[in-house]
């Protein structure tokens, strides 16, 4: 593909994505989500809007949920990024992923990666005992058009509880 003249100088960026060190020379205006999807081909992180409202692009940056459409890739330089592709381990699905399947927390699947990443952030911030009102309030930044949220709320509650039980077992 022919190179295009670009007045902006490329900027070097390096970060850890799903445990792997990656680096690239980027146009400074490259968004984190563009870097993930277009350069790293991690297409599980989606773009559903252009006003930072829908949450389909949520990833974790240094452990906190971030809308990756609202952050420049260079802002994540030196940081650790986790995407939906980084959740399942060698032993299988993450309990939150499993809960979404078990409770039919997804239909078309487009919002799902953002929902799962937001759910994990919720557990990290608020602990594993999440009631319905708390879950609904904390889902404010994620839109779903298919499920009416009913089963997403159930899935997050169950996934959080499973994480809590898992942590308890690990501690004992």
């Amino acid at each position: 593909m022919p190179e295009i003249a670009n007045t902006a100088a490329k900027v070097a960026v390096a970060m850890t994505v799903n445990g792997r060190l990656v680096s690239a020379e980027l146009d400074p205006r490259t968004l984190l989500v563009q870097f993930l999807r277009e350069k790293l081909l991690l297409t599980g992180t989606h773009v559903g809007c252009d006003t930072s409202q829908c949450g389909a692009c949520v990833v974790h940056v240094d452990g906190a949920a971030v809308k990756s459409c609202t952050m420049l890739a260079i802002q994540a330089d030196g940081m650790s990024v986790t995407t939906i592709e980084g959740l399942a381990g060698a032993s299988g699905l993450h309990p939150m992923q499993e809960a979404f399947r078990e409770h039919h927390g997804l239909q078309c699947g487009f919002c799902t990666p953002g929902m799962i990443m937001t759910a994990l952030d919720m557990v990290a911030r608020l602990g594993p005992d999440l009631d319905e009102a708390t879950i609904r309030e904390n889902l404010d930044g994620n839109l779903c058009r298919c499920t009416g949220y009913h089963n997403i709320v159930k899935a997050i509650g169950a996934g959080a509880a499973a994480m809590g039980a898992g942590a308890k077992v690990a501690a004992e």
Binding site: H46, D50, E85, L93, H104, G109, F110, E132, G148, Y149
Partner: protein, 789 residues
């Protein structure tokens, strides 16, 4: 229930497709890239209505990274045809609808903000956007026609549509209806606006067009609910390529709700342009473009009157509706406010005479077409609002008034085409009243009042026509296509099965339910079944997914193909088991000689079918693969009762849904988990319409609600958890007894919510969306009214 078991019909089997979606391995159109692809950006009209005097692309073409810029003139030079509306509606005076010319890129005029003026194709999307900004378009701005109520008095939008009317249509017996009104004891009148909605599938539309010069063949990857129909339209009408030289692939699609049925300008242009520029051309809408250019839904203004006798029985119903088509007639736009609307105006009720007039207008707004429910939500909203209003005027309990007028004998021929085949409306009403604790409502209302809150309860007894649709019937009503479905069941030599279906899945879970059906029928584990859809090179043909038709029509085609597979396998088994064909029984995955212990597993017969050593191939062809086309014999008629209970804070105008009960009769349910999910999502969209959503254009035709900052989508904390119940009458018109479940929530919910608000606020004039500002004003009026009393 896990992957390696045989899955019976009726089991809540967990979804096979979820594995890829929960791990980020879905394959949506924008996730795909083609070698050498360039990026398309559409220059869109900033004006609602304007003549294009000239387009100067010279400066833009010289911009860095530009691969090509194409306009309507290039489209015309290549003799690319207009986008079409595939359903002919005829006006009451016998004239066919006036379909305005709809080129994929504007030729001499633009007709809404967002209309397509030119496409810029460049090495990057940013380069394409930069170049688009350098295109000079000389517009002569014309008056906008943004107000449906005054559309006939506005500037003429299409040369062939005076007064901006496409058709003035009617259904029913006018004289009989007038006669019914003449002997009425009471007439209830209502004026309603059915608010305009943006579908908002979370995945924005996208397309990649590619041309293979060696094969002279095109491939289009697109966000479609019906790739075969897209190929048919792009071949037979738009004329981009013959059908056998155009492959359309709809991979994972992130929701549709109707908006991805239609053949849009963007995928048309990307396909055509791929050959023009000699590169794959990729386009993905951003959300702002989606708001501007996805076909919107609803947008009716209606006046209705209901005539009742002294005993509270309905005598007649008349309706006059103005329907907005937008700037152009989208693919199925004409049938939505006519044959999918007026045909359902009998609701669940025995109404002797109905007359409905629908006038369909062009306006300088985005095209309007099917959105979840498509015509049927508009009908239900009208019927269920006027039922409530009439009940209150007649001082009859709304539940009792409905019950008094239910259709109770089946089949029931309505005065508006439909022949209801089965149902038990009293059963769903009874269960819903019980689940919602209707009797306990007065106490809850009093308790709320003591807290300074206003409670209301509202019913919506919806009916819909699904399983779309018998081909000859819709043909007689103007449809340009048949609405059957196809299926192919390929049994592999090792006994696993691929099912090819024309029903596209974009959230409905077909990969599970269809596999569940095959697993149950053939007695093989569900993980031995794959469902293939969404690729015109793999599936021979299909009409796609909409109108809750995938179960009733798509699965019925699979049943037909399975019948053929079983019949042939029995013949083969008979030869191997040296028995008469009539003595072979097939049960639990085994072919058994009746009354003996001699049997073969399904996989053994499959292998033998391909090895072909043990039967005479002069009589039985080798192999085990069967196809079927299924054409339904009737529409299906899902129906039910949804009850909403709201609590209004009169200080803030905020409406909280404190209870939502949905009782539905979907006929036979294959997978209750998936069916419940469909109901949840539908209710959320219906609640969205009632309380939150509304597309708004200003007087100049500018879209005011063009982003999620301006258009209110339902969020998790706007909704409660829902209470669901099922009643069941089997659908007699298809082999599985399925009625369909995809649209019920969106159809039923708006009237339930608004009826509840009307109850809470003590007025029938509750507009949608009932935003806090409007509800606050109504609560205030109520307080003033009460103080005066």
């Amino acid at each position: 229930m896990n992957d390696s078991t045989v899955t019976p019909i009726g089991a809540a089997v967990r979804r096979k497709e979820d594995q890829r979606f929960i791990t980020g391995k879905g394959r949506y159109t924008d996730d795909l890239s083609r070698p050498g692809q360039a990026f398309a950006y559409f220059l869109r009209s900033p004006h609602a209505h304007a003549t294009i005097r000239g387009i100067d692309t010279a400066a833009a073409k010289a911009m860095p990274g530009v691969v090509g810029i194409l306009t309507g003139a290039d489209l015309a030079a290549d003799k690319i045809g207009d986008l079409i509306c595939g359903w002919l509606v005829t006006s009451k005076d016998g004239t066919p609808m006036h379909m305005g010319s709809h080129p994929a890129l504007a030729k001499d005029k633009v007709r809404y903000v967002g209309d397509h003026v030119a496409v810029v194709i460049a090495e990057t999307l940013d380069a394409a956007k930069d170049a688009a900004a350098a295109i000079a378009v000389d517009y002569e701005v014309l008056p906008a026609v943004a107000d449906l109520a005054a559309a006939d008095a506005g500037a003429q939008i299409h040369d062939n549509a005076p007064r901006n009317i496409s058709y003035e249509w009617e259904l029913g017996d006018k004289a009989a209806t007038e006669a019914a009104f003449a002997r009425a004891a009471h007439v209830t009148k209502i004026d309603l606006v059915n608010n305009r909605l943006a579908p908002n599938a979370m995945e924005p539309r996208a397309a990649i067009g590619e041309y293979d010069a060696g094969d002279e063949a095109y491939t289009l990857w697109t966000t479609s609910q019906n790739p075969h129909v897209a190929r048919l339209v792009l071949s037979a009408f738009v004329g981009i390529a013959p059908e056998h030289k155009l492959r359309v692939i709809a991979p994972d699609v992130g929701g549709g709700f109707g908006s991805k049925i239609f053949i849009y300008a963007e995928e048309t242009v990307c396909t055509w342009a791929a050959k023009k520029v000699g590169r794959p051309v990729k386009w993905t809408a951003d959300r702002s473009e989606a708001f501007l250019s996805d076909a919107h839904g609803r947008d009716h203004i209606s006046h209705a009157e209901l005539a009742t006798d002294a005993a509270g029985k309905i005598l007649g119903f008349k309706v006059h509706t103005r329907a907005n088509l937008g700037a152009y007639m989208s693919t199925f736009s004409s049938c939505i406010p006519t044959y999918l609307y007026a045909t359902l105006l009998s609701g669940q009720y025995a109404i002797p005479a109905i007359h409905c007039e629908v006038d369909a207008f062009y306006t300088t707004t985005a095209p309007v077409d099917a959105y979840r429910g498509a015509g049927r939500p508009e009908a239900t909203f009208l019927v269920e609002r006027i039922m409530d209003k009439a009940a209150r005027e007649l001082a009859i309990d709304p539940a009792e008034f409905r019950r008094r007028n239910f259709v109770t004998q089946f089949p029931h021929q309505t005065p508006v085409i439909m022949n209801y085949d089965a149902g038990d409306y009293g059963a769903s009403l009874d269960l819903a009243l019980e689940m919602a604790d209707y009797k306990g409502f007065p106490a809850r209302r009093a308790e709320a009042e003591a807290r300074g809150k206003l409670r209301g309860i509202g019913l919506s007894n919806y009916i819909e026509a699904c399983g779309i649709a018998p081909s000859a019937a819709v043909g007689s009503l103007g449809a340009g296509v048949g609405l059957w479905e196809s299926a192919e069941v390929r049994v592999n030599p090792t006994g696993n099965v691929e099912v090819l279906t024309g029903s596209h899945s974009h959230g409905q879970g077909h990969e599970t339910t269809f596999a569940q059906l095959v697993s149950a029928r053939l007695g093989i584990p569900i993980d031995q079944v794959s469902v293939v859809h969404g690729d015109t090179d793999k599936v021979q043909f299909g009409m796609g997914t909409y109108g809750s038709r995938s179960g009733a029509v798509g699965m019925s085609a699979i049943v037909k193909a399975l019948d053929k597979v079983e019949a042939k396998a029995k013949k083969i088994a008979a030869h191997i088991l040296e028995a008469a064909e009539g003595d072979i029984e097939f049960k639990d995955g085994r072919f058994t000689v009746a009354g003996t212990d001699r049997s073969l597993a399904f996989a053994e017969v499959a292998l033998n079918a391909y090895v072909a050593h043990k039967f005479p191939t002069s009589e039985i062809e080798p192999g085990l693969k069967e196809g079927a086309f299924y054409d339904p014999t009737n529409f299906t008629f899902p129906a039910g009762c949804h009850i909403c209970e709201v609590e209004v804070d009169p200080e803030t105008g905020v409406t909280r849904i404190v209870n939502f009960t949905a009782v539905d009769d979907f006929g036979v349910v294959i997978n209750p988990m998936i069916v419940e999910g469909q109901v949840h999502g539908g209710i959320a969209q219906g609640v969205g319409q009632a309380l939150l959503e509304g597309v708004t254009y200003d007087a100049d035709g500018q879209l005011v609600t063009g982003s999620y900052m301006d258009y209110t989508m339902p969020r998790a904390d706007d909704l409660p958890s829902f209470k669901l119940g099922l009643t069941q009458t089997r659908c007699p018109s298809n082999p599985l007894g399925i009625k369909g479940c995809g649209e019920a929530g969106a159809i039923a919910a708006p009237a339930a919510v608004i009826n509840a608000l009307a109850d809470a606020l003590g007025t029938q004039d509750v507009p949608m969306p009932a935003t806090p500002a409007k509800v606050w004003a109504l609560a205030k009026t109520r307080a003033v009214r009460q103080a005066a009393e």
